[in-house]
């Protein structure tokens, strides 16, 4: 029981670090492996669901990363009309990650901590993924990074929701959603011109 608690806390911290890395180093070569780590950690934290569903979630995560990895963006210069004015300095991102990470970790403990059986790892993982995913969304404009933020946020939501909703059918649907989102993101990546930062 103690070992399980330690594993879930490690998984939650690892998920948060991966999510933070994707925000701080917004390169394709970092974002996709970070997503892979997040899916693995989130699957570990879905302990309240049947094991088969947690395994399915990990498998979906692998598929999602595979889809995004093999998708090539158009090598045309970005359209001037799509120019983005989003704060992008590393210092700004680091401060934002720290603030949002701490706030979401504290809030999640308050929200999910009252649920019966919810461990520290689960609430921490849910909060970090949801909060940092939301931050990633706010700081991004290209489909790959917005998609990564959305998937992180959805992962955080699923960890928390698994604790309160027993329906296997609903969780099955929710687990399939990242795959659909990845397909849409991949489709949009092929439509959008590549931006310099995501090409690296």
């Amino acid at each position: 029981m103690i070992a399980q608690g330690v594993i879930s806390i490690v998984a939650a911290v690892l998920a948060g670090v991966a999510c933070a890395a994707a925000i701080l180093l917004p390169r394709r070569g970092v974002v996709i492996p970070a997503l892979f780590v997040q899916f693995g950690c989130a699957a570990t934290l879905l302990s309240s669901l049947p094991v088969a569903l947690a395994i399915a979630y990990a498998a979906v995560g692998a598929c999602v990363c595979g889809i995004l990895a093999v998708t090539k963006s158009r090598e045309e210069p970005a359209d001037a009309s799509q120019a983005v004015v989003v704060p992008s300095g590393l210092t700004f991102r680091l401060v934002a990650v720290l603030l949002v990470g701490l706030a979401s970790a504290a809030l999640s403990r308050q929200v999910l901590g009252t649920q019966e059986g919810a461990g520290l790892g689960e609430s921490l993982g849910a909060g970090l993924l949801f909060g940092l995913g939301l931050l990633h969304l706010g700081l991004s404009e290209e489909p790959l990074r917005v998609g990564a933020g959305l998937l992180s946020m959805l992962g955080g939501f699923q960890i928390g929701y698994a604790r309160v909703e027993p329906s296997v059918a609903l969780h099955g649907l929710l687990i399939a959603l990242p795959l659909l989102i990845a397909l849409v993101v991949a489709y949009l990546i092929t439509l959008s011109p590549a931006s310099p930062e995501s090409r690296a």
């Binding site: 359209d79 009309s81 329906s167 609903l170 949009l188």
Partner: protein, 462 residues
């Protein structure tokens, strides 16, 4: 075999057939439009669980499809709205032959309507939010087929619908703890706030409308009309089912008062922005937003008549927005463009298409003698702040439409647009006629649409 399986299976089969037949434009069009019409007829008339159905058809189907302990159900509570959604799709698919909104329109559109139908049949109904999220993901393909650039709108749409789904699922979890009976508003505050935020996200109410103007700038006008109509119909019916299921929500008078003032705010925002646009598509999008506000105003009357009116208005907008989309698409396909400069004097080069776009816009504005007006008249008859808001909305959005009319009637320009085929003329003419006919004879549309409410016993008072 059960009714939901038949309806959704048929829809999926049609989508596959349309993909296989994609190189034969006429056959794809016929399969999609007649197929959707057939599914609509089936939804209305299929005999479910031995109840009333198609006269002379002895076959009765089970109304429930159980999957992993949860179910999709077709019954008296939802068959009219399911049929309505497929009918809207059939109407829009029929016009797509002329509008030519992109190569993924029929297949993606069928999946979109299938997912919205699934959301209407989902039991417990809270799971509808997941279906609507799936609908938003597929709608990206309809709005941004491979021949169009995506910009930022598609991801915004997906993000906002995902947030809406999360808000509604969380509201549902909270609601389960409260039960379906009467609860003090203070006890239900969290669930109410989450539900309202979720509805706002799904109905694209400001400030959650960000994907709409961007989509108007990049998507085909007809595809945009289709997605707005189907997605918001699904969202509206979900709102109604939510209110029908929970007494603590439909008995919360303060919530209805707040909804009225929020609707007035949305109406003002949509109207002012509609007047300020230099793009026809964006004008129509903001006009549709003001129209959603009028639907919300009808809903906020907190009476069965108000709920019926909201359903009637959501049906009337199908005609207005559909005809606008048809006219604007023909203009855009011919290379006429979308801005004030590009459309200046276009009425002399393409009179029928321009007329359709303008009549459709006037109908979305709720101008007298168009399909959008009778419902607004009924809301105005209720008096109070809602009446003033409706009058203001009609006035402001009509002003925008009048400004566009004056733009398209400016001095003729040297333009060589391709001539319209007989089929184009037929569809555009019928569209204009429908807008006017349903404005003069609303009894052709409203009575059977508002009957859809009869299945919701909580709202209809039955």
């Amino acid at each position: 075999m059960n009714a939901p399986m038949v309806l959704l299976g048929l829809t999926g089969g049609l989508a596959v057939a349309v993909v296989l037949l994609r190189k034969q434009a006429t056959v794809s069009w016929l399969v999609a439009s007649t197929g959707a019409a057939l599914v609509s007829v089936l939804a209305f008339l299929i005999r479910v669980d031995g109840g009333p159905g198609l006269p002379g058809l002895p076959v009765s189907m089970a109304g429930t499809w159980t999957i992993l302990g949860r179910s999709l159900e077709l019954g008296v509570t939802n068959r009219a709205v399911v049929g309505f959604v497929f009918l809207v799709a059939a109407f829009m698919f029929a016009g797509a032959r002329v509008a030519r909104p992109g190569r993924l329109f029929y297949s993606g559109g069928l999946l979109v309507v299938g997912l919205v139908a699934g959301s209407l049949m989902a039991v417990p109904f809270l799971y509808a939010a997941v279906f609507l999220e799936g609908m938003a993901l597929v709608a990206v393909l309809v709005l941004y087929p491979p021949e169009r650039r995506g910009a930022r709108a598609p991801m915004r749409m997906v993000v906002l619908y995902t947030l809406g789904m999360m808000a509604l699922l969380t509201a549902g979890w909270q609601a389960e703890g409260l039960g379906s009976g009467s609860v003090a508003p203070e006890a239900a505050r969290t669930a109410t706030v989450l539900a309202v935020v979720g509805f706002g996200l799904l109905l694209a109410a400001p400030p959650f409308h960000l994907w709409l103007p961007s989509a108007a700038g990049h998507s085909h006008p007809y595809a945009l009309s289709f997605v707005i109509l189907i997605a918001q119909a699904g969202a509206l019916f979900l709102v109604m089912r939510f209110f029908d299921a929970y007494a603590w929500l439909r008995e919360n008078e303060a919530l209805f008062v707040a909804a009225r003032w929020v609707a007035i705010g949305i109406a003002a925002f949509g109207s002012v922005w509609a007047m300020a646009q230099r793009s026809l598509a964006r004008t129509a999008v903001y006009a549709a937003m003001a129209d959603t506000a009028v639907i919300l105003l009808a809903f906020s009357a907190m009476s069965p008549a108000g709920y019926q009116l909201a359903l009637g208005l959501s049906a009337a907008r199908v005609i207005g927005l559909g005809v606008w989309g048809l006219g604007a698409s023909v203009l855009q396909n011919a290379g006429a463009g979308d801005t004030t400069e590009q459309l200046s004097g276009i009425a002399y080069a393409a009179p029928l298409a321009t007329s359709a776009a303008m009549v459709g816009l006037f109908s979305v504005a709720g101008f007298p003698i168009t399909a959008g007006f009778p419902g607004r008249w009924a809301v105005m008859a209720g008096g109070g702040a809602a009446a003033f808001a409706v009058v203001g909305t009609i006035g402001a959005v009509s002003m925008a439409a009048i400004r566009w009319t004056s733009t398209v009637l400016r001095s003729p320009r040297e333009l060589s647009l391709p001539p319209l085929t007989l089929l184009d003329r037929f569809f555009l003419g019928v569209g204009i006629l429908m807008c006017v006919l349903l404005g003069l004879f609303p009894q052709l549309l409203y009575p059977w649409v508002v009957g859809a409410l009869s299945g919701l016993s909580g709202l209809s008072g039955g």
